[in-house]
Symmetry: C2
Subunit: 106 residues, 2 copies
DNA sequence: TTATTTAATCGTAAAAATACGATAATTAAA
DNA sequence: TTTAATTATCGTATTTTTACGATTAAATAA
């Protein structure tokens, strides 16, 4: 299922899936938890926190930026990463709504 | 990152990532929304709801079963699918906790 | 028993994700 | 200006995911 088949599903289904995909790798969850723990924009030292190479971490950061969860501000030779509160809330809400839709059945 | 590198991350990170992976495809989100809408265990007609072949849908169901979100009870020649409330709650909680950990920063 | 129905599994092709080293680009420091 | 630091991107190998048709397996119906 490449690009063309995206419209076989609703926008909501696609967005939920896309946000879930962004956090579907432990390295990316780890990055987010680290940013949250620091409670500030973090420059650079994310690579040192992860057991992965610099280029791989950079790729994971790119994926988080792709869906909008992260924003990266260039400051000199460094890049400062922040969680985007708007998208974070959107994600939390979509997951919450999905979760609470199910009231139990059997 | 195959099997061996799983222990480079915490159990929590791995579990969140694994549950997110399960809902990281629009077809699987679609399946879940359909089951929720029906508000009962659903036998068989999931395939008719999706724009995918029977074997592909079966694969997606398998992935949802793998993480425990779905259970499938065989009844004669059919299989009835239900959301597992326990795992569903676990997932909702993990996502909720993750979401609420971030209080904003910049 | 012999069909039919239903769903899982197999085999496989194509696409996407993951990981890394090497390289490039940009800025700051010497 | 030259060097160092930092991060993104490139090229690429490997693994995983996705998708489908064909087949198998199991239960039911004829």
């Amino acid at each position: 299922m490449a690009v063309a088949k995206k419209n076989l599903f609703t926008d909501e289904e696609n967005r939920i899936a896309d946000l879930a995909k962004a956090i579907s790798h432990p390295a990316r969850v780890s990055i987010l938890l680290y940013l949250i723990k620091k409670n500030s924009c973090v420059c650079g030292d994310i690579v040192d926190e992860l057991p992965l190479s610099q280029s791989t971490v950079s790729q994971h950061l790119k994926e988080l930026k792709r869906v909008g969860i992260l924003q990266g501000d260039i400051e000199g030779t460094r890049t400062c990463y922040c969680i985007n509160p708007k998208v974070w809330m959107e994600m939390g809400n979509l997951f919450k709504v999905l979760t609470e839709k199910f009231k139990g059945c059997c």
